[in-house]
């Protein structure tokens, strides 16, 4: 009997060892790898609400450092006057903010003011629950502020002649490059306008293999992201949706991103991955984080991201200590294309569900947020560029441009060409879902489930249009 017990006990210990190793090994490995040191971000606390002030509930979707700057701007406003009090409530992401608003339309739980990205514009307009800010600009005789807005920014939020929401934070997509790696490989990191061929050539030159042939640094980090598909269509001045991106009076009735522009873009990325000079990190949320981490740790020399990530990438690269010098280029394009990119970021929407006082409070905060010095403070501390041009005369902004010349590349990029409906964000009731359909098809193509990019995009367009037709049917368009 004793023998049996010993056997049982030893097998128990074996099981325990296996279980333990499962827990311990990731930690051991984690020490070997050099992940980005998580910046310790302590949330900025809100200031106290003064007695007798009108509360304005404000939903915003920016987290981390960006979210902190939002709270700082809100605090500055709240201390600047005592009539209104902005209660800023973080909603975890842009996507969750619009999804929560969509759900709130049914339940009646809506804020007085919301920060929504351009993907939510059509739904906000159709909701019937908003006050177009243009009526307030006109009422208060403040159209000069609208006139002073960055033209591309104004065009983005002015839909069929009406400015529905007030731009707050504006960005655009960039190709981030490691300038140190470029110098090493004898490439020019200052030539901002690059073609697909240029980027392919760079990727080959920047890929580094060790003696065993294993890649230690890829030329380019790739992840599935719908926003870049929109940017690529813009630089080629091709509408992603017909007619005219939904911007010329008629509601958009179909998606058309399975044309040459979309197919070339997706094939370009897949080709580099297949060639072994780019690495694919998967779909949007997880993929972008992994790609950014690879970029700042010098495991990938080029990376696509928003200009709003500039400050974060610069400080992460410094923290990682892998010698990465962050630079920015325009989004790559086919030979001969010289178009501007689309304005990203978000705008502020006033809802009509609150009391008239709360609506006035929301409007008052918008007026404050558009003051040149507030926009300069906002831009200098984040990575967004100012939405009003007067901010460029502010010393804070001028200093930021000197310290971070990468900003200027983004500003130049959105001013590259004249504004057309094709290089302005499209307007569609299924903007957020279309992105997931594209990301899914892109991911399936990268996983080898689709033989060609054309098949993948055809499938995504088909399901997007199925849903768009349904939406337009119920939205009465």
């Amino acid at each position: 009997m004793k023998k049996v017990r010993v056997a049982v006990l030893s097998s128990l210990i074996a099981v325990l060892m296996v279980a333990l190793s499962l827990v311990v090994s990731p930690l051991a490995f984690a020490q070997q790898a050099t992940p980005v040191p998580a910046p310790t971000i302590t949330p900025v606390p809100p200031v106290a609400r003064p007695e007798g002030s009108t509360e304005v509930v404000f939903w915003y979707g920016l987290g981390g450092n960006l979210g902190n700057v939002v709270q700082e701007v809100v605090n500055m406003y709240n201390t600047s006057q005592s009539t209104y009090y902005i209660n800023a409530v973080f909603q975890s992401s842009y996507d969750d903010t619009i999804n929560k608003i969509n759900a709130g339309l049914a339940s009646g739980d809506l804020p007085d003011l919301a920060q929504i990205f351009e993907a939510g514009s059509q739904r906000m307009i159709d909701s019937g629950a908003i006050v177009p800010v243009q009526t307030l600009f006109e009422r208060d005789g403040m159209m000069d502020v609208v006139e002073d807005m960055e033209p591309a920014v104004r065009a983005n939020y002015e839909i069929n002649g009406t400015l529905y929401s007030a731009p707050f934070n504006s960005s655009t997509a960039m190709l981030y490059v490691n300038r140190a790696a470029f110098a090493e490989a004898g490439l020019d990191p200052d030539q901002a306008l690059v073609t697909y061929d240029d980027v392919a050539e760079y990727a080959r030159a920047l890929t580094v293999r060790d003696a065993a042939g294993t890649v230690t640094r890829y030329g380019l980090a790739v992840y599935a992201e719908g926003w870049f598909l929109e940017q690529i269509h813009a630089v080629h001045d091709a509408p992603i949706g017909l007619p005219a991106n939904g911007r010329e009076g008629e509601r958009m009735t179909e998606y058309a991103y399975n044309g040459e522009v979309g197919v070339t873009w997706v094939e370009f990325l897949k080709g580099l991955v297949d060639e072994g000079v780019a690495v694919y990190y998967g779909p949007a949320s997880g993929g972008s984080g992994a790609a950014a981490s690879a970029f700042v740790n010098n495991q990938a020399a080029m990376h696509f991201s928003s200009i709003a990530s500039l400050r974060g990438l610069v400080s992460s690269a410094a923290g990682a200590g892998a010698g990465v010098d962050v630079g920015t280029l325009y989004m790559p394009r086919a030979e001969g294309a010289d178009g501007k990119t689309i304005v990203g970021g978000a705008s502020l929407w006033i809802t009509n569900v609150g009391t008239p006082e709360a609506q006035e409070g929301a409007w008052d905060f918008i007026k404050y947020s558009l003051q040149p010095e507030v926009q300069a403070f906002w831009a200098a501390n984040t990575g967004y560029y100012p939405v009003v041009q007067a901010s460029y005369e502010d010393p804070v902004m001028q200093e930021a441009l000197v310290n971070f010349p990468q900003f200027q590349v983004a500003i130049d990029q959105i001013r590259l060409t004249d504004i057309t409906s094709a290089n302005t964000a499209h307007v569609s009731g299924i903007f957020v879902p279309y992105r997931t359909h594209y990301v899914e098809a892109f991911d399936r193509y990268m996983r080898g489930e689709f033989a060609t990019a054309q098949e993948a995009l055809d499938a995504a367009v088909a399901i997007s249009n199925e849903q768009l037709t349904e939406y337009n049917l119920t939205a009465g368009g």
């Binding site: 097998s11 128990l12 070997q32 049914a106 990190y281 992994a290 997931t436 899914e440 399901i463």
Partner: protein
């Protein structure tokens, strides 16, 4: 009693109003009916809650599933069985995306349920032996029950993260050619299944251990006297007497695995290969197609109830109750 007499005599020529009042009185006079009313009264708190939060939403989901909804989630256009046909790929579009996710759900369930039960029973057999310090091991085997799926999902997303390198050996062993196990079709669902097995182990272990401890010791003693070895005792005593427990675990496990959501939300929120429940959530939360999502949830309901009935019918015949 007097009321009874009146009711028997009166109806013949009574006016309508009188007759109705009379019928009511007659109904009330029966003790069974009065008990029924009292029963309803006492159970009304539970009934109201069930009605509001279960039956009403269920009926509403059926109605919504037949309609295209507007932004506010109200039915806007009648769609008949359109969404059901779309999901089951019977609408002639040839699109099988949702049907595939139903397949993935079953694949995931087949990976998780048998694995977790086999490991749990194995561990329970080990932990049922009476040796010193066994409580310590019982505690360890149970520990995953104390970790919520959300926390477990965060832990495992770290383990599977390409930059942590913990699963790099799997990527290299299988020559996946992608950064992490969650990026390859070959390993995405198995990786989520491994995490789910780990997470469900504690609960299954406790139930299996309790089942084992309920088996009378004398059966084993008499089997030993008859010369039965360890395997024979397990095969002919433990397994048959544990079968009610196993049936319970299989049914609960199957329902749980087919309804699994959290781990998919945390580990592979954007993956094209995911389970039907997650597709339902996407249809609701990302696509705002409340009608479609309702149809999908009704389909889940039908699948679950059918499966449970089949499992119960077929497996119950093989279960030995003491």
């Amino acid at each position: 009693m007097q009321e009874d007499v009146v009711s028997i005599v009166a109806p013949v020529s009574a006016p309508v109003a009188y007759g109705r009042q009379n019928a009511l009185a007659r109904w009330w006079s029966r003790p069974r009916n009065r008990e029924l009313l009292m029963a309803l009264l006492y159970s009304s708190p539970a009934l109201i809650i069930f009605f509001l939060f279960t039956y009403f939403p269920f009926v509403r989901a059926i109605w919504l599933s037949l309609n295209i909804t507007n932004q506010r989630g109200e039915p806007a256009a009648f769609n008949g069985l359109g969404y059901y046909l779309r999901v089951l790929s019977l609408d002639g579009s040839g699109r099988t995306d949702y049907l595939q996710s139903i397949g993935t759900s079953f694949q995931f369930t087949l990976m998780v349920v048998p694995t977790v039960i086999i490991i749990a029973v194995g561990l329970a057999v080990l932990a049922a032996t009476r040796v010193r310090g066994i409580q310590f091991f019982r505690l360890i085997f149970t520990s995953s029950i104390a970790i919520s799926l959300a926390s477990a999902g965060v832990i495992w997303s770290l383990i599977y993260n390409p930059s942590s390198g913990a699963t790099r050996w799997v990527v290299e062993l299988l020559n996946l050619g992608v950064p992490g196990v969650l990026n390859s079709n070959l390993t995405t669902i198995p990786a989520v299944a491994v995490m789910s097995v780990w997470s469900a182990l504690g609960f299954n272990f406790i139930i299996a251990l309790a089942g084992l401890q309920a088996i009378p010791e004398d059966l084993y003693e008499s089997a030993s006297i008859d010369g039965a070895g360890g395997w024979h005792k397990f095969r002919f005593i433990t397994l048959p007497l544990l079968s009610p427990t196993l049936l319970f675990l299989v049914i609960i496990g199957t329902i749980g695995a087919l309804q699994a959501f959290t781990q998919f939300h945390l580990l592979i929120p954007d993956s094209p290969n995911t389970v039907f429940i997650y597709e339902t959530f996407r249809a609701f939360w990302y696509d705002n197609r409340y009608g479609l999502a309702s149809a999908m949830s009704i389909i889940v309901f039908i699948i679950l109830i059918t499966l449970t009935i089949i499992q119960y019918r077929t497996l119950d015949q093989r279960v030995h109750y003491q």
